[in-house]
């Protein structure tokens, strides 16, 4: 498949060799490959293949953030240099490209991956070479690696608050859990099912449905949802339907005349970027749960949007939640490097826990010892202009939980990368740390 390697170098004139020499001593072997006056940052997002639709934007976000940081003097007096590679939506290629970034290019940190399977593919490489990566997408949880920082939402930062909102504010009693058939929806739905049962929802009031990737013929399923929802109890669809399959799903809902007032759909994978692909007037009122919406009213968000529109040179582009995750992750990394005084992976790993940076909703996000971050949870309703109207938000911040409390297999597990525990998978009942978290 197609591969592109772009290397963007920006040299600082203000800070020369002098400052580089001071820090040179503390640089690890990893950074030794790098040019003396720059710090390399890996950007590992698919620019071709199926996932290009979502990931290209994140590559651009990283380039913008790095540009901005360089304009403000870089980090530790050095300019940052983005090394962009294209893993082409090919999961094994993610591992190869990560290895290339770390071993050949000598990047200090990587920002990348979208799907869980691509993250799982990169994980062994990161752990073997001890190099950090920031992962910006909401995911199913049940993982905490020493080398990965999860800046997207864990299920307790998205799915569970959304279900709470539906049950409490909309009086929903009957649930359709509809998802694409892969690890994120399966795990999320398992957690939600356990959560709903624990809240006393009978099993005949839960309908679970899986569809293949890119499913485009939703006629029967929508008709089934309609008859499931005509039993007199308020019904909602909790959708973990992935990416492309959403458009025909919503179109079919509209065509069969199901409005958000009859059966609201709350989605975890539909954001501004996905909606910019089509006419949203039939979707008005359907919901999404995220930690950020473009419509959030805060000065820092206005500034971020302006910078983004200028950078991308297109007034019609939008911002979305994973972009905010990269914004937070990147600033956390910068702050941790400045605190540690070096880009060395171990020093940064120690420094980053507890680091707080502004998020775009106007508050602060903090890196927790389990490598997840604190975020507000927002519920938005789709409007006819493709934006979200925020209808509910948590009153404070929610810290990401690596191991779900609602699954039997993980309810006793915790993660903390702070000494002396330093474990991503610690069983509090047996006191055993099960080592790495590949499973």
């Amino acid at each position: 498949m197609h591969m592109t390697t772009t290397t963007e170098t920006k040299r600082s004139t203000a800070f020369g060799l002098a400052s580089a020499a001071i820090i040179a001593g503390s640089l690890s072997s990893v950074a030794a490959h790098a040019q003396d006056d720059t710090i390399k940052i890996g950007v590992l997002h698919s620019l071709s293949g199926t996932m290009a639709i979502s990931e290209t934007t994140l590559k651009d976000t990283m380039l913008m953030l790095i540009d901005q940081q360089n304009a403000n003097g870089g980090v530790l007096g050095k300019q940052l240099e983005a090394v962009v590679v294209d893993p082409a939506s090919d999961w094994p290629l993610f591992a190869e490209k990560a290895r290339e970034l770390i071993e050949v290019e000598g990047v200090a940190v990587t920002f990348g991956a979208w799907t869980s399977v691509s993250r799982k593919s990169v994980l062994p490489v990161l752990e073997e070479l001890n190099s950090p990566m920031f992962y910006p997408v909401q995911y199913e949880g049940e993982e905490s690696s020493r080398n990965v920082y999860y800046t997207g939402a864990a299920p307790n930062q998205q799915a569970i608050p959304a279900v709470d909102y539906l049950a409490r504010d909309l009086g929903v009693e009957r649930w359709v859990l509809a998802g694409t058939d892969y690890v994120y929806p399966r795990t999320t739905n398992k957690i939600l099912e356990a959560y709903l049962s624990a809240k006393g929802v009978a099993s005949e009031d839960i309908m679970i449905n899986y569809t293949p990737f890119g499913h485009s013929d939703w006629q029967s399923i929508v008709s089934e949802i309609q008859s499931f929802g005509s039993e007199g109890k308020k019904t909602a669809v909790v959708s973990t339907i992935n990416g492309d399959a959403n458009v025909p799903f919503y179109k079919e809902l509209g065509n069969q005349g199901i409005s958000a007032e009859d059966i609201p759909v709350v989605a975890f994978s539909v954001g501004e970027e996905e909606l910019s692909g089509f006419d949203t007037s039939p979707l008005v009122g359907h919901l999404a749960a995220w930690n950020y919406f473009m419509s959030v009213e805060s000065d820092v968000n206005d500034e971020f949007i302006d910078t983004w529109l200028d950078f991308i040179g297109d007034e019609n582009r939008v911002t979305n939640d994973p972009m905010e995750a990269h914004y937070i992750g990147f600033n956390m990394w910068v702050k941790a490097v400045e605190k540690a005084g070096t880009v060395d992976a171990d020093a940064v790993a120690d420094a980053i826990i507890g680091v707080s940076v502004p998020n775009l909703t106007g508050g602060y996000s903090t890196m927790m010892p389990n490598h997840h971050i604190t975020k507000p949870v927002l519920i938005g309703e789709i409007q006819d202009d493709g934006q979200f109207e925020i209808v509910w938000e948590t009153s404070g911040l929610v810290a990401g939980d690596a191991w779900s409390d609602y699954l039997d297999s993980s309810k006793n597990l915790i993660a903390s990368w702070r000494a002396p525990l330093s474990c991503g998978n610690y069983d509090v009942t047996t006191g055993v740390c099960s080592g790495q978290n590949l499973e």
């Binding site: 498949m1 639709i53 504010d169 485009s216 029967s220 970027e273 006419d279 409007q383 209808v391 810290a399």
Partner: protein, 537 residues
């Protein structure tokens, strides 16, 4: 367990909305809008609906549709006309133009699902006495789910004065719901009789609740019997309509499969070229529909109609270029053709990604393609699917006539059956080759236009259909258009019949397994080529 849910005391500024008084150019409305923005929105709306002014309905509709916004810098409620991100603001009462601002300078009046439902009811309530029968009908329909919200005398009075047939039927349905809820057994039975023919979910539930009422409920035995009988009848007709619906779903899925495969039936079926770039030709056709919409943004229907010939010509031309530049050198070498066309498919995808965008592009449905034809409460067919089913049959018939009745079709069949004999008879076989491939590609383009109405238009569109297309052609029998039609429809209906009890994924697997077994028994598909033509393959 160690809950990590910690609530840090960081209130986000969006929560703290400090609002000053809102103006609107009308003193009567000012306190209402101030209350709406700052306080209880339900109260504000109720007050607004209770005012004695002619434009209250327009105001409520404006709030519902987002035409009324808050002009943030002036703290003023205005009516807005949107043009992309630039908004023109008008005075609420006089309609005088005030200013044109960027969209971020205004904020919409907050609405959520509950409030939207409430607002719709308020508006509907104002419509009961309206002159316009359509408004009356919406108003009455809104009452059906909550029959107790209106007094029976009022309904009786409305029925008395109503002349429109549809509104009258809707009013009677409301009254029937009220009768069913009554405590008088005679009234209740009258209600059940009236509701028995109504298949809406609300009516069925009302009847079912009576039929399944607990033993100790105060209920005349005749009432219970009548309800039980009505329930069984209703269930039977619902079953019947559900089966009909499933068959329609299957035919509609089948028509999509046939459309996607019919171009391939020509390139693969007639010419024997394994064209892996077929899906991308479909994708290019869908992009034609997108570009035509950009050219004619105000006439979506015309744009869609025009994009049919445009897509046919564009993708046909692309097909001819592919045939002339690559495929003609590879005739008789199927494996190399497969690899080369796979390469072309990747190149076309990446070309679209770089030239247009990696993002999906929006293609809207023209008004005549949206909505449903409703036969009754449980059976309705979506219009876009109906059109595509009809369109599929038109394309099929046109191709059949072209192949069987035209000189080009004759030459095409001659070349595919016996190339050297055809050449001996004076047929320019290489020209026929490129035209045939161009035809197949052009038909793929047309299919793309149709698919743009159903699914995402993006660089990956083609990949979703390539496997299905080959499946249909192989199942139907290589080289036979009828095979493609019957094959596609059979696969579609089989898939949809399996889906309700096996789930979407298992249904797909089962269909595939069935197909493999079928091909084992009949390697040449449903309609195998016969006679001398068969030996040429």
């Amino acid at each position: 367990m160690h809950s990590l849910m910690c609530t840090l005391l960081l209130l986000s500024p969006t929560l703290v909305a400090a609002q000053e008084a809102i103006t609107s150019g009308d003193a009567e409305l000012d306190p209402i809008f101030t209350a709406y923005v700052d306080g209880d929105r339900t109260d504000a709306l109720t007050t607004l609906a209770g005012l004695d002014r002619g434009d209250k309905r327009a105001l409520l509709t404006g709030i519902l549709e987002g035409d009324l916004v808050l002009w943030k810098t002036e703290s003023r409620i205005v009516r807005v006309e949107k043009d992309g991100r630039s908004y023109t603001l008008f005075d609420l009462v006089s309609g005088e133009e005030l200013d044109t601002v960027r969209s971020r300078r205004v904020s919409r009046l907050k609405l959520d699902n509950r409030l939207r439902g409430f607002l719709r009811k308020l508006i509907a309530g104002l419509g009961l006495e309206s002159e316009d029968p359509v408004e009356r009908l919406t108003a009455v329909r809104a009452l059906v789910s909550e029959p107790e919200s209106i007094e029976r005398q009022r309904i009786d009075a409305l029925i008395e004065n109503e002349s429109n047939v549809d509104v009258l039927a809707a009013l009677r349905a409301v009254r029937a719901r009220q009768l069913v809820a009554s405590s008088d057994p005679l009234e209740q039975q009258a209600g059940i009789t009236a509701l028995a023919s109504d298949l809406s979910a609300d009516s069925r539930r009302a009847i079912r609740d009576i039929a399944n009422a607990p033993e100790d409920a105060e209920l005349a035995p005749e009432t219970r019997e009548a309800a039980a009988l009505a329930m069984v009848n209703q269930q039977r007709s619902v079953e019947r309509y559900r089966t009909l619906e499933t068959v329609f779903f299957g035919l509609s899925l089948g028509s999509v499969l046939v459309l996607a495969a019919i171009g391939l039936a020509i390139t693969f079926g007639v010419m024997g070229v394994i064209n892996m770039a077929h899906g991308e030709l479909i994708m290019l056709g869908a992009y034609c529909a997108y570009f035509m919409q950009l050219l004619l943004p105000d006439a979506l229907g015309a744009a869609l109609m025009l994009s049919l010939p445009v897509a046919f010509l564009c993708t046909g031309a692309v097909g001819i270029v592919i045939e002339r530049s690559v495929i003609r050198f590879l005739y008789g070498r199927p494996l190399e053709t497969l690899l080369a066309t796979f390469g072309i498919s990747l190149m076309l995808q990446q070309l679209v990604r770089t030239m247009v965008s990696a993002q999906n592009v929006p293609v809207s449905n023209p008004a005549f393609m949206s909505g449903t034809v409703s036969f009754n409460e449980v059976f309705s067919l979506t219009l876009n699917r109906l059109y595509i089913l009809a369109f599929c049959l038109v394309v099929f018939t046109a191709l059949l006539i072209l192949l069987k009745r035209s000189r080009f079709g004759l030459e095409m069949r001659a070349v595919s059956q016996n190339r050297s004999m055809a050449r001996a008879m004076g047929v320019r076989s290489s020209r026929i080759d490129s035209l045939t491939f161009g035809l197949g590609a052009g038909v793929a383009g047309i299919a793309g236009v149709a698919l743009s109405q159903l699914t995402n238009v993006g660089p990956n569109l083609g990949q979703a259909y390539i496997v299905d297309s080959f499946m249909v052609v192989v199942f139907g029998g290589v080289g036979n258009l009828w095979g493609t039609l019957i094959g596609g429809m059979t696969l579609g209906v089989a898939n949809k019949l399996l889906e309700p009890w096996a789930g979407a994924i298992l249904a797909k697997i089962l269909v595939l397994v069935f197909l493999i077994l079928f091909i084992q028994r009949r390697p040449r598909g449903l309609f195998p080529p016969r006679g001398r033509a068969a030996e040429a393959h």
